[in-house]
Amino acid sequence: MFVRKKTALWMLVALLFILPACSGGGSTGGASNGGGDDKPAQESKGKKDTTTLRIAWWGGDKRHEYTQQIVDKYQELNPNVKIDVEYAAFDDYWKKLAPQAAANQLPDIVQMDISYIVQYAKNGQLEDLTPYIGNQIKIDDVNDNVISTGKINDVQYGVPTGVNVLGFQYDPELLNKAGVDSIPENWTWDQYEEIAMKVRDAGYVMDGSMAPDIFFHYFLRTHGYSLYNKEGTALGYEDDALFTEFFGRLARLIKEGAVPSQEKLTQTKGILEESEIVKGMGVGVWQWSNQYVGLQAAVNRPMELAPMMGPDMEKGLYMQPSMFWSITSHSKNKEEAAKFIDFWINDVEANKMIKGERGVPISASIKEAIVSELSEPEKQVFDFVAAMEEKSSPMSPAPPVGSPQVIASLADLVEQINYGQMTPEKAAAAFRQEANGILANNK
């Protein structure tokens, strides 16, 4: 079994050969990789003057399909540009992107999520788009509140592909059966709870509870706070009573039977077909507007969208960029990349293929131009988002580095509240301690 001396020597030699090539992936590896990238670009430039762009996105089959069609169309219109595509599902996408970032091998254009953009921007992976805005990327028809969602510390790191807004997506007929004619205008949290109890008395459930991080954040905003502070170094609220009030109410609704038990929620989480509304037992769902079309298709009954409850909905509500297009800082063809992003935002034909699948388009004229192409539920979403856009306030700063861990910790604690294993008061204190511990790394 033991390695012989000579073999050992040989292994040592091999090791010496290989080590310099492998180690220091950051510095030496990066440089040689960069060199590797250069060659094909220069060669092809010499021949035909074509540029090669790499673009990466996440999504499902439907998105992959039409995105590829748009890429093909762009190449047809711009024969000097060749576009290589890379795509994956959401989870896999980030697992692929992180090592590419570590090796300085990111594609020229990447689809960015709000929860990751700060991390990539802070680590110098993304290009400041300000010089391209108004030049290659035209944004004349875009609301300032919307374009500014791509800014981090006043630097434009991403252009939103579209916007979403929170709301209650429900089946009005089931609500009627519970003796509620309609969702009251400017409804409050108390009214919501009253209606939920009526729904329970009629033998249905109101909803499938709320995603803790997203809706707690909304609730904090209606009180003038935010989940994270501006610098991203600690939580953005001081008073734990807000936590207790919000999650206490959600737990109460579960306990009263107006919302399915936590056992059931955990079991059916993320499986649309098993949710109460699809089975005709639940009135609605709290989620982003872009999820409405898929839900409507699964429910297959007439549905409607209702705004969030207040008081102070206007302070809490914000237009959420569904995702961003960003250009990476080591891209060799930033101008060409910017032109492609412009095509994405401002080309009517392209947007007729997208149909708001990446959120409602940010350009007003594009929105008008494609309305005739929309299906009934898609139109509902466009109308709802347009109505809410007037009532919304600027978005809070994008979640800081470490937010996935903070959100996981919040979800754990909320689960414990809902299982009756922990009081909301204790959970509030525990969350503050855990979250501030994680966020302290950003100081």
Partner: protein
């Protein structure tokens, strides 16, 4: 490259080098592959376990901080250790017992036995895969076959993956169900026990249980040891079923947060690569200790015919 080697005895080395060159050339694909894809990554992971590394910035040396945090501050870590130990200590013995039971059933001379052997081995061929885990999810989901059966029997249905006490049970059940590979090894072992032993015992009037405990088990004990060690090691590293069934979160209440799943979460969801590397090394040591204990205690219960029972 050779200048860096210590001088002297150069001629001798060259000669034997030439003689063995062919050999080295033939094994070089393996050696280089091993070095590049296994050995060096192992060393790098050891280095990373002493650093704070998020994939973006250069690793920062933090000494034993990761290990200290793991052992003294991280409740979730201990929870994942607890869950993993329950999973291993409940799952592996059950699985082996079940495998042995089925192996004995299949060790008969019925005509259809070949067919049955194939059928019982099937779960292991597809074992551990994503498809099986998804199927398992469907069997135990709200309106799955298990709950339908319970309702039929007048028992209220259980939210298997929602109930903190039941979720790990379904994972263990899945691991027991994938008993095929241990079963095949047991079957081979059973075939090796000579029928004369049983005949002789029968003539002496031994009952079936007595034959099992006095002949089958002792003669099979080396194979039990082998299966025990292999299954324990693989059980410690179980990942896919927990990932699929809990959607990667280890829910409910971290009841299915197996060690490897928590490691994965730290590495790829929170980008704490250094911490995850440290966890991996502790896992390696843990599995090593478990294996050593099994080997040591095996002297007490494993029977080797060749050594005259010692």
């Amino acid at each position: 490259m050779f200048t860096i080697l210590p001088g002297g005895a150069d001629a001798l080395r060259k000669q034997s080098l030439r003689a063995n060159l062919t050999g080295y050339a033939f094994i070089s694909p393996f050696v280089i592959g091993f070095l590049v894809f296994t050995f060096i990554p192992i060393l790098i992971s050891l280095y990373l376990s002493f650093t704070n590394y998020n994939l973006f910035n250069d690793p920062q040396w933090v000494g034993s901080f990761n290990f200290k945090k793991m052992f003294t501050q991280d409740q979730k870590y201990w929870n994942s250790v607890r869950v993993t130990f329950i999973y291993v200590f409940a799952g592996v013995p059950l699985r082996l017992m079940f495998a042995l039971f089925v192996a004995m059933l299949l060790n008969t001379k019925s005509r259809m036995v070949g067919f049955y052997r194939t059928v019982y081995y099937l779960p292991s061929i597809i074992g551990g895969s994503v498809a099986v885990s998804i199927m398992w999810r469907n069997i135990f989901n709200e309106q799955g076959i298990v709950n339908s059966l319970l309702i039929f029997l007048g028992i209220p249905p259980v939210a298997w993956y929602g109930d903190p006490n039941a979720a790990l049970g379904t994972l263990i059940a899945l691991s027991v169900w994938q008993f095929g590979s241990s079963m095949l090894i047991f079957l081979a072992g059973l075939k090796n026990i000579s029928p004369e032993m049983y005949e002789a015992a029968s003539i002496d009037g031994a009952t079936a249980p007595r034959k099992f405990f006095k002949i089958t088990l002792p003669l099979l004990s080396p194979i039990i040891l082998f299966n025990l060690i292999m299954q324990t090691i693989s059980a410690f590293m179980t990942f896919v079923p927990a990932y699929i069934i809990s959607k990667g979160e280890g829910t409910p209440m971290d009841g299915t947060l197996l060690y490897s799943l928590y490691l994965f979460r730290q590495a790829f969801m929170f980008n704490n690569m250094g911490y995850a590397a440290a966890m991996a090394w502790v896992m390696l040591i843990m599995v090593g200790i478990m294996t050593a204990i099994l080997f040591k205690t095996s002297k007490l219960w494993v029977f080797y015919e060749s050594k005259g029972g010692r």
